[in-house]
Amino acid sequence: MLVGAFACAHTPQLLIRPETEDRDLVLRVHAAFARVKRRLEALRPDVLAMVAGDHIEAFFLDAVPALAVYVGTECAGTFGPYQYRMKIHEPLARAVVEQGVERGFDLTYTQNAPLDYAFYVPLHFTMPEPALPIVPLHVNVYLPPQPTPRRCHEWGAALGDILRARPERVVLMASGGMSHFPGTDRYASPEFDYDRELLDTLRAGRGRELARISGEELDKRGNIELRTWITLLGAVGDARADVYCYEPSWHHGNAVVEWPL
């Protein structure tokens, strides 16, 4: 069953803060992460299913899956000095890939790929103790052509049906966003007003409208990673978002959101 849904920023500066990052802002986002952790403890999930956009870490140009599921026993990764290892809920991961394919989604699966920091950063701050097993769900966001927002929403709807029919208590978490333009000349000028309008739409329970945004628009607005949120929105339907925080830094719109189910 699906018992909770969250979206969390994974900005690396929240984990490794350079002098250029406002420390108070970072701590405010950490406070929102702590709130997610308390909610996870209250929701008592058996597993965290996490949708993240790969930062060209698990997959390179040798093979670029649009949608992928990590199906293994555990998964490890590194980010800077951080080395991490997470248990995978293999029965759920396998059910997602098998039933996803059965429902018409040609999913890639992998049993051996590094765990990207997009998964690790939110989990570093929000993972309850003892740690829960996870199911990493990849959406290609950085290597064009990416899946369309419409396709992500359709996959999320199927994923929600699969999770709701399972015996485990599952929390779904989307990692990423909001507006940022790493590596481009727009880095210092994200689209914060656009983010705020999107958050208003989500607060009103109109998340399905995001499925109509084009891929070009997401790129233009610095929101290519929003595909992970749109996947989650397919699963949560018309639930209204509770925005824990929106903290725009000089380069990134950091949001932490729950959709109470």
């Binding site: 002098e19 420390r23 140009l61 800077g80 701050f125 950085y142 064009p144 052509p145």
Partner: protein
């Protein structure tokens, strides 16, 4: 996706360059070799001397013009900064 997009389809000719940037981002041992000898490390990925020169210091615009993925350039640069100036970062 139009040619004005921030993140464009990576041209196949830039595969070795992107592979080198990915290694800088994700392979600590390679990044450390790069810090010690950038030209020799770039040669491991078969990069020509003119491409290797763009990596040290990282010339983002020139690299992207050659087909480098902007995100890989960004994170390779951040990774090298973390190796060269580790004391300037606060870890949580």
């Amino acid at each position: 996706m139009d040619e004005g997009a921030h993140y464009r389809f990576p041209p196949a000719a830039a595969y070795p360059l992107n592979r080198c940037l990915k290694a800088l981002k994700s392979d600590r041992a390679f990044a450390e070799r790069f810090v010690r000898d950038p030209r020799a490390a770039a040669r491991e990925h078969g990069l020509a001397e003119d491409e290797a020169r763009l990596l040290d210091p990282l010339d983002r615009d020139a690299l992207v013009a050659r087909g480098a993925h902007p995100y890989l350039v960004f994170m390779a640069g951040l990774r090298l900064k973390m190796l060269r100036e580790p004391g300037k970062m606060e870890m949580f």
